[in-house]
Amino acid sequence: MAQSLQFEHKWDYAPAPEKIPVQIDDRYGLFINGRFIEPASDKWADSINPATEQSLFKFAVADQSDVETAVAAARKALPGWSGLPAQERAKYLFRIARRIQERSRELAILESMDGGKPIKESRDIDLPEAAKHFFYHAGWADKLDYAFPGRKAGPVGVCGQIIPWNFPLLMAAWKIAPALACGNTVVLKPAETTSLTALRLAEIFQEVELPPGVVNIVTGAGQTGSALATADINKLAFTGSTQVGKLLARQLAGTGKRLTLELGGKSPHIIFDDASIDQAVEGIISGIYFNQGHVCCAGSRLFVQESIMSEVLAKLDIRLASLRVGDPLDKNTDLGAINSRQQLDKINEYRKIGVEEGASLHQPSTSELPDKGYWSQPCYFADVQPAHRLARDEIFGPVLAVMSFRTPEEALSRANNTPFGLAAGIWTDKGSKIFDIAAKLKAGVVWCNTYNQFDASSPFGGFRESGFGREGGRQGLRAYLELS
């Protein structure tokens, strides 16, 4: 394929920034017992807009005593909340869902400013899905006894929840909605680079008159999280790195606290020669470049059947050339800013490692990157060997490792050659092959002829070192219930 296409010069899109004004306070305290309060620590930190490197606001850094105050508030609210008639509990969740929908435009902008993701993604995915999680779980509140036949379902108690920076509001919804539906109370710790939308969600809790203490939000970094894990909670739910997940598992051993972990991944994406190739290429694109690749289930290892490798790479080049990297608030931006300086450094380090290991870097995007901010051009590495670090480590950025295979057996053994097991993708037009491969992949979510689809009703979570427990669907409730 010597031909190439070009995507500029004749008709270029004008800037299309989202212009709705949003209000951000100079600083946000901790949300405890229904009110925003000053932290006992009296420590504050800056939240940086990764597209400008400017401080967006200051958040409180909760120390152990702040965390204990929050946990005590949740403990105090527990009998009242779990004792509410279930249908009343449901109606609070419905109210929250509605307010998220009504304020979604504002929240989407805030999400993009605080975290760097393109506005089209926060607008079309994060916000609608966050609302949906509350709607979906609201309806479960009074039906829990039907979810686990033969058992009476009751709450676990006070739940500590620690969430990552890649989907700040959506992860808050994933965690809070099922916990509340099941009658638990919550202390949530958002990631230190992205706590804004969780704090704005707290405003929504106030608006809908959620009883004080039912949800408490403590901001801060790893130490705050560690304080939460060791506080007087009944359950810890953590989404984040496998490394931290393992530490938490050790920390909680023998404490009787329940634990669910949604950790990292290095998900394989397998393209067979009988696939619909143009759509498979779309799947590859959304699989690895969605949210700048800051996705735990990103399809970061691509396995292409040898006979179609050149065609797939040619089309990947074309598609990458048309991707638009830049201002997260521009409605036409496909890839926004990398979430933090630290993450950008990590991505750049892996790009360097990739080249040093002998893989070949392809980076066809022609977008001009802004002077300020943290940016990474979407890229892929060809000629990657399974032993390369590019093929083994989670990078959490727009970096794809491409490898080939000849037979389904080879594809499977390579795909499963990882300690992770979060997700996988398969592209083939043959139904029987789909079922065979899907059954043999060690992954909690298998996307066949699609990728990166999510739904509140669909359980999400990993095999192996990608964690345990599921989020979403009937199975996701299990983590927040005691069965008797």
Binding site: D12, Y13, K331, N449
Partner: protein, 293 residues
């Protein structure tokens, strides 16, 4: 020729992504003018009259009297009976004369009659021929017949450009639309075109994307550029911009020319005029402010 399959859900998702592009300011104005210059202004009614053809041709030359700087359309598209008149009215303007031949819209005539019709419209002055494929043969799986007919019609066209109408609304699945696109391109069509406008659904963004991908694959394999014409149901300026976004992001900027992309439309021109006028004056236009064309 390899049979290419199309996954409907994924291609529809990709198609929808084009409609979420935000085209503003100068890019919008440029896009609207581009769309105008790519329009095959069409009338294909049993009741078409000399007067109607005249009005259409006037509109083709000058879409809005108060904005003489707007580009003229690419072509007018009429039934064979009106080709001579249209040629007369548009002589020297550079506007192409397209005619639907081959027993449009059903194509249900003997091949010899269809070929004769093509020769006739070309003789009458049409420099573009919009043919329909033999859907009966296609759906029956008789692809050699379909391809052979297109080749024969291409030959009958002589120098006239051939647009091959697949009538995608009758082919139904994207796999079949892709197959028909590949056949039509292989058989020598200069353009492939979605619809006659007589069958619903007519042009849609996903269907057009399927066809654009066929064009792209042909280009990547051979270096030859085939044109695309969605037709039927495209009446809003905003929709036209979505199509242009799709063309740009699928085939690149080289396809953003009337030589390689056309809209088969009638009321689209007036909506573009309204939009441009609004952009320029800040006022919304009433229906009676634009002329019937």
């Amino acid at each position: 020729m390899r049979t290419v399959t199309v996954d409907r859900v994924m291609i529809e998702a990709r198609a929808a992504s084009f409609t979420r592009r935000s085209i503003k300011e100068a890019a919008k104005l440029q896009g609207l003018c581009m769309a105008l210059s790519m329009t095959d202004l069409t009338t294909l009614e049993g009741k078409d009259s000399r007067e109607r053809i005249s009005a259409l041709c006037r509109k083709a030359r000058q879409p809005a009297a108060d904005m003489p700087d707007l580009p003229q359309v690419a072509a007018v598209c009429v039934y064979p009976n009106h080709v001579a008149l249209a040629c007369e009215l548009l002589a020297g303007t550079g506007i192409h004369i397209a005619s639907v031949a081959t027993a449009f819209p059903s194509g249900q005539s003997p091949l010899e009659l269809r070929l004769e019709e093509v020769r006739q419209v070309v003789a009458d002055g049409a420099d573009e021929v919009d043919m329909v494929i033999n859907r009966g043969a296609f759906l029956a799986g008789d692809y050699p017949t379909v391809q052979g007919e297109i080749e024969a019609i291409k030959q009958a066209c002589g120098d006239a450009h051939l647009k091959v109408i697949l009538e995608t609304g009758e082919l139904e699945t994207f796999d079949k639309i892709r197959l028909a696109s590949d056949l039509a391109i292989e058989a020598g069509g200069d353009f492939i075109k979605t619809s006659t406008g007589k069958i619903q659904p007519a042009a849609t963004i996903p269907v057009t994307l399927v066809m654009l991908e066929a064009i792209r694959d042909h280009f990547l394999a051979t270096g030859k550029r085939v044109g695309m014409k969605p037709a039927g149901g495209i009446s809003k300026a905003k929709t036209a911009l979505h199509y242009l976004v799709m063309v740009k992001e699928t085939l690149g900027d080289d396809w953003l020319t009337p030589d390689l992309f056309r809209f088969g439309a009638s009321s689209l021109v007036n909506d573009i005029v309204r939009q441009v006028r609004w952009k320029r004056t800040g006022n919304y236009t009433a229906n009676y402010d634009v002329s019937i064309g």
